[in-house]
Amino acid sequence: MLDADLKNTLLSAPLCKYLNIEEIQNIISYSKFVTFAEGDMLLQQGKRGEGLYIILEGEVIVNAKILGAGLAQFSIVKAGGFVGVISIMKNNPSSTSVIARTPLKCLLISHAYFEMMSLFLPETKYKLVRSITEGLCQGLKEKYPRIMKIINKSGVIQKSSFGRIIRKNISPTIFNFTDLELNMNILKNSPLFKYFNEDDLDELVNYGELIEAPKNCVLINENEKNKTSYIVLRGAVQTSFIYKNKLAKLIVFAPISFFCGITLVNESFPSLVNYSTRVRTTLLKIDENNMLNLQLANKKLWEKIYDLVCHSFIELKRASNRLEIRLNSEFYNIQQLG
């Protein structure tokens, strides 16, 4: 039985902000209360964790071994906060270590239970994923000025303004499905859509339009408020931070992957990231209106799509972490090639 203080901490935790009391009770029933002594490790960098920890009492330090900088402390997470997003969303090795700064009481949501929620409690899972995604986007927003400062101070060469204007005017071509055959098997067989059934995929495609974008086509501009979503079918989309025409690359979204602007997660945020095609690219585009219609018409499908939204921001966050390390280690783009 959870005491009143711990219950209140859970109820007011950012992760639980969209959950009702019944949903929280369900989570508690299938999760584990764990305690740690000061100095104990919850998550070890480079190793897979057990899941997501919600801190109920105490504080943890988040640090990591960084190439070129040794051991760096990132943050202190207090009661109400959570750690272990990579463990729970991707079941990948943790990118940071988390150590108890004080004696701790936590609620551990295991990876296995989280996966099961897709089948038995999809709405609850969606609400957790929504909170996680908002946290990721906030983190990206906070990191952005720091990275831009480094780029600005560094010798990164500015790209041509004229070139950027030309690229902004390159537009994709819309195809009918009869014109360009969409091979549904490539979606069905993709691990990204493992929780989507055939009806889900058919419906998703109905909300979208098939487009072919030539090389260097800007799909989402930095500083643009854009809620359009895309699924890359063939080709590649490069993401970058751009500041005063200085460009720093993040990651490439390849077939089959999903991405969207940060505005879809938080309406007040303009895109921090530029999304442009690297090569001729075929995409399924779901514009803002259709995303809203989908959300209203098919809640279950929307919940599954939101999982993809979260995954895309996890990749961007990882890429921004890598970029920050690289900017501190390398002379990046200080030379004009060719």
Binding site: A236, I251, V252, V279, R322, I325, Y332, L337
Partner: protein, 305 residues
């Protein structure tokens, strides 16, 4: 689809790179972490520079078409030499009787009269269609040295032809410009033959004084509809780490002392399962590292063709 390893820095026992860590280079021939469905069994090659050796500007060269994990000679050699620069390659090809497994096809490639070596991780789709159009971009004196059947050797010949000379000290821009020109030539010839299929070109170059690598794919994401094996069509990985020295510290293999940069590894995948002190090179990039006054300077550049 091949694994490559390059090292620059303090003298290192080659055995520590090839055999000793939990994802050692030789282990990647039969148990690669990043391309698990295609093993690298079609040959092993290594070039290594030790300036104190006879004719120190030129490397030791070792090549075999045999399986390296059974190669006692390789193990003995690796347990003895301590070069300051290494480039090693494991060749991975599809399991087909049409593949030619021979010494002439083992990387790294290094032509007579040059001390610049190249190894390639990747494959140019429909290369047979386009290869003879590369001849006009290769210096006449180099054409005769192409002995094998690989696209990689042709890429090397084109690259070498873009350098100001076959030997000497190169500025970073000599190498990066030559790499970019090489990629542009390949792109031009592909366009001429309307080849628009995913073709990775991770190139590793060294002459003992620098190491450089590209992480690039032509027409990424465009895979033939009927293609069963997707291994050739993923974006091939490229990682690096640096520090004071690489070895066995605190019960694990790692780069020690990352605040000091006197040693660097650029490779297809990390040599350890723990990748926390390795960084992935972004897609469409190249990286160049040179030892200057006991410190390695690292330059990275976006590749835009």
């Amino acid at each position: 689809m091949c694994r490559v390893l390059s090292y620059l820095g303090l003298p290192i026992l080659v055995k520590e790179l090839l055999y000793d860590s939990d994802n050692s280079f030789i282990k990647q021939s039969y148990h690669p972490q990043y391309l698990p469905r295609l093993l690298n069994l079609a040959g092993f090659g290594l070039v290594a520079w030790d300036r104190s050796s006879h004719n120190g500007l030129f490397p030791y060269i070792y090549k075999t078409e045999e399986l390296p994990f059974y190669d006692e000679n390789l193990h003995n050699l690796a347990s003895k030499i301590t070069p300051t620069c290494v480039l090693a390659h494991l060749r991975g090809v599809t399991y087909s009787s049409k593949q030619v497994v021979s010494l002439q096809n083992v990387h790294p490639f290094i032509f007579p009269g040059s001390n610049v070596a190249l190894a390639h991780n990747g494959s140019l789709f429909d290369f047979e269609k386009m290869k003879f159009d590369l001849l006009k971009y290769i210096k006449p004196s180099l054409k005769k040295y192409i002995r094998g059947t690989t696209d990689s050797e042709w890429i090397y010949a084109v690259f070498l032809s873009q350098l100001p000379g076959l030997m000497g000290t190169y500025e970073p821009s000599d190498i990066t410009d030559a790499l970019l020109k090489t990629l542009k030539i390949l792109q031009k010839v592909r366009l001429k033959h309307d080849i628009r299929i995913n073709s990775p070109v991770n190139l590793f170059i060294t002459n003992g004084e620098f190491i450089a690598a590209t992480r690039y794919v032509f027409d990424y994401g465009w895979v033939p509809q009927n293609e069963d094996d997707a291994q050739h069509f993923i974006y091939h990985s490229l990682w690096y780490t640096y520090g004071e020295s690489y070895g066995f510290y605190d019960n694990e293999y790692k780069m020690k002392g990352s605040q000091k940069r006197s040693s660097m590894i650029i490779s297809s995948e990390p040599l350890t399962e723990d990748t926390t002190t390795w960084i992935e090179v972004p897609e469409y990039s190249m990286i160049f590292a040179k030892l200057e006054k006991n410190e390695i300077d690292i330059t990275s550049l976006d590749i835009t063709l």
